[in-house]
Each structure stands twice: as C-alpha cells, then as structure tokens.
C-alpha cells in the first residue's frame, strides 16, 4: 500500500494510514528520498499516528529516512508515536536516537520551522547567506 506524500511549502509530509509491510516501508523510503531531491525539500515529516506497532524494521527504516534526508539537505521529524508504541520500543531497545521526534503534525511543523530559522541565523552569523 503506497503511503501518500504531500508537499506543504518546503516540507514533505508522509502520512501513514495503516500497518505497512516491509516492502511498503522500503517503497516509502525510496519515494521520500526521491521527492526530497526533486522538490528540494527542507524538511520531512513522517506521521505514524495510525501505527499500533513498530517493529525493528520499521524503526530502522525511519532512521534511514532521516539520515538520507539529512544528506540531501532536509531535516526529518517523526510525529505521532503512540504511548504504547513508545513504551514497547524502549523496552525492546529500538531507539530513534539521533532522529527528531514530536508529539503531532503541528509540533513537527513548528520544530522544522525553528530548525530552519536556526540554520538561517547560523549562516547569517557566518556572513554568508545563499538565496534559499
């Protein structure tokens, strides 16, 4: 089942609607990386609110997406991890270390906006601001 990916300004939003097979997850990863490049996206949000469980492959895929996106100039935020899922993840030692997380879509967007502002400020401070 293909996950819909929406474009909102400089950001891509992937909203997972139901449980995904390993193949679906790999397809999502490929689609996101492709779109990040094509639309020159600055941020990626993956919304996992609808997922009741997340196994190690899903967690690894999300980590891959975040790392690959960063290599292509975009920050990733995983949003909507359910309390039960978070609990199970930490018990199984499945961490999303190094990957930003937020409570929901609204918080995720706020985080990306703040991140962008930080990067712009940094560049300005260094005296070099390319046209965005």
């Amino acid at each position: 089942m293909e996950v819909p990916i929406l474009k909102q300004g400089h950001y891509l939003i992937a909203s997972i609607q139901s449980a995904l097979t390993d193949a679906d997850l790999s397809q999502l990863r490929a689609a996101l990386i492709d779109k990040v490049g094509r639309f020159r996206a600055k941020g990626v949000i993956v919304d996992v609110t609808a997922l009741d469980v997340m196994d190690s492959f899903a967690v690894r895929t999300l980590r891959d997406i975040a790392h690959m996106a960063r290599l292509r100039g975009a920050e990733t935020v995983i949003v909507g991890i359910q309390p039960e899922v978070a609990f199970a993840m930490v018990q199984l030692g499945l961490t999303l270390k190094g990957v930003a997380t937020a409570l929901d879509l609204e918080e995720g967007l706020a985080f990306l906006d703040m991140q962008r502002q930080v990067r712009v400020d940094d560049k300005r401070a260094q005296g070099r601001l390319d046209h965005e």
């Binding site: 991890i81 359910q82 978070a86 609990f87 930490v90 018990q91 999303l96 409570l103 929901d104």
Partner: protein
C-alpha cells in the same frame, strides 16, 4: 448444635445415628471449607483493590503550566509501579501535549539497577512523544547508585532540586518569571 439435636433425636438407634453422622460429616466439612475459602478470597480481593488504589494515588501526573508536567514520586518503586508510572506519564504527555516533564524523586529513598534502567527508558519513551524530561531530587545515595551501575546518563537532564528543575523547564518553554510591583510603590 446440629450434632447435639441429632443425638437427642436418634440416641435410641445407634445404627441410624452412625449412618446420619457419616453423611453429615463430609457435608459439614465442605461447608466450613467453602466459607473459609470464600472469606479469604474476598479479603484478598479487597487488599488487591486497595493496593491498586494506593499505587494510582501515589503517581499523579500534574500539569503546572501549559505544556509542563510534574511527576512527583514518593516511596518505594517496584517494577510494577515503575511500569504504571511510565504508562501514566506517557498518556499524560499526549493528553496535555506536554513539551517538558519534571520527574522529582526527592521522595525516593533508594533505587536498584532495574528501576534506574526503567527511569532511563521512561526518559527515552517521553522523548519519542516529543517531550524533554528533567529529573530532579536525586539523593547522594541514588546519584552514587546510578554512577556505580553505569546507567547511561547522557540522555537524562538532571537538576538538584524541584525548584531548579521547574525553573529550567520554564526556561525551556520560553517563560520568564518576574515579580509583580510592590503595592504602594507607584508614584
């Protein structure tokens, strides 16, 4: 009393009395047994219920400001309570959309490695829901325990006391607390 009235009625016929008593005895034993077991089970049920109520009472999740939760922990934490604590906290983070949580363990006397690890897991799980955790009130003993056990503290922000923790949390949320003017100082 039943035995006495049986005696009175059948004392003439020993055979019959013997037969009646043979029938009566197992029945009487079963009755006594059932009553005893029922009584104990009921008491145990009440005790379990009360234990559950006590556990819930002792881990309240309190919102003190928008997006700021405080979890004051008092007493002994066993694995079951630790688990319940985490579940309550995570649900509280989602319900209140908390961005910062202050877990205060001033009231916790001692902590073993299981509970310490559970605390670390709670911090990580909270992060997955987008909340930052500040742990406050670590006693010298607990601080020593954590270091000795080798718990990964790099992910856990700690502040000495609850007041400091709340101030740090407010700072993270962008609040600044300023005193109101003294009444009578206006010109």
């Amino acid at each position: 009393m039943l035995a006495r009235s049986l005696f009175a009625k059948y004392h003439g016929d020993f055979e019959k009395l013997s037969r009646i008593l043979d029938a009566y005895e197992p029945a009487a034993n079963r009755i006594a047994n059932t009553v005893a077991v029922g009584f104990v089970q009921e008491r145990e049920r009440i005790i379990r219920q009360q234990q559950e109520a006590i556990r819930e009472l002792s881990t309240p999740v309190l919102q003190v400001r928008e997006r700021l939760l405080i979890l004051p922990i008092i007493g002994v934490i066993d694995p079951q309570r630790a688990r319940q604590l985490t579940e309550q906290l995570l649900r509280g983070i989602r319900t209140n959309r908390a961005k910062v949580v202050v877990i205060d363990i001033t009231g916790v006397a001692a902590m073993d490695s299981n509970v310490a690890n559970h605390l670390v897991q709670t911090v990580e799980a909270s992060r997955l829901l987008g909340a930052t955790v500040i742990v406050t009130g670590l006693s010298p003993e607990i601080a020593q325990t954590l270091v000795t056990i080798g718990v990964d503290l790099s992910e856990m922000a700690t502040v000495g006391d609850l007041q400091g923790g709340i101030e740090e949390a407010e700072h993270l949320l962008g609040y600044k607390v300023v005193p109101l003017e003294e009444p009578g100082t206006k010109a």
